[in-house]
Subunit: 132 residues, 4 copies
């Protein structure tokens, strides 16, 4: 069962681009993480980390680049997640350039939760409405 | 004669921090640039670049680090500029952690404008109200 | 038909890690790109860009994270490629922590070549011995 | 009394540049840090961190940008330090493009040492031959 669809926006600055004139490919992973943190709630992540010694970690990414975003673009990041058992959260995330009909980049990202000893723990219940 | 004072906000994500637990020192230069681009106007910068082949470049930075920002902080960036002749724009920029009485980081940053041949040109008149 | 196997090494600095104590996940894409540039030859890439207006672009990445590298690690990047037709170069790349028996991260990365108008062109013959 | 002069080299990759065609200004701070870590010894820094809970932190940077490095450049980083009392290490660092007669970037960088409670401690004696 999939979550609702979340929207987040990312402004593209000088720092994001490379000398070929478009956004450097690894940066989209940063934008997708910012968007996920926005969904989960940064204050929740801080509390999990400080009180429970828990953090999310990316386990797997499948990403396809269709078009390069440029300096000045305001990207729209669309995110949706679903649980895959108790230990994995699967995110479907896309990045859209202004006025475009197809996503510039799309990705499927698997998140797990680990404690300070790097051991897997069940995904905690933090503002993720579909948790069963 | 100094400009008015501008405010900009920056959310600190995983990507911003390093293993010591605070924001990596060079990242504040990115936040200050984002804030300057917000003051000048990103659409103005895109137009300058595409139509006039002009871009701003950092010539000089004096920066002091008083306190490290942490994951989850929402920093406030305070910016003010003044012209130093026709060729140089001097920015006074500070980064503030939430609820703090002193800036975490303060900087003086000198900006110049260059064309595609890397030659200095006068600062163009783009939404910078104090240009004389 | 697969290429020979190439080795490249990456030192992990403060800048590479995040506050959780391990390397930030998107940075491995940078290390893999550095290793590919080393295989292709940076001087070849500069010449392609300046004389022929051609550049490589990442089209697709499938990456799995098994273990987090830490500050001070010297990672070994192992790379191998094969052509998939004239237009695509598929790389198999892994990152190894010191003295480990399994890769910390493994990835399959699809590279294409584009001109300044962002049109696909055949992969150029630059120090890639298996080109048919 | 100044230390000997240390040399370190940095290859400029796609990730280092921005859409204006040169290295993004904040990245030189990363190169200077890599060079300092090389002088101090990364294994020493790891041991200080893990055993003594101590880390170096940048307190102050004065940096001037004379010329932009480009994709493909192999920069030479020249570093020299001196102690300023027991609590501060002052580094003089410059970045040189290939075959150039002047540094592209020069900086004076003040380093301090802090414990896990963010309190200043004297600079530890780690492979820094001029410590008095």
């Amino acid at each position: 069962m999939k979550s609702e669809i979340f929207e987040f926006s990312v402004q593209i600055y000088y720092e994001d681009t490379d000398h070929s004139g478009v956004v450097y490919h690894s940066n989209y992973l940063k934008y997708f993480e910012r968007a996920r943190e926005d969904v989960i709630g940064i204050e929740n992540l801080v509390e999990l980390w400080k009180k429970n010694n828990l953090g999310f970690a990316v386990y797997k990414v499948d990403i396809v680049y269709h078009e390069g975003a440029e300096f000045g673009d305001k990207l729209k990041i669309i995110s949706q997640y679903e649980f895959d058992g108790k230990y994995r959260l699967i995110w479907n995330q896309t990045a859209w350039r202004p006025n475009s009909k197809k996503p510039a980049v799309d990705a499927i990202i698997h998140l797990v939760c680990i404690n300070k000893n790097k051991q897997l723990v069940p995904i905690p219940e933090v503002k993720l409405p579909l948790h069963s």
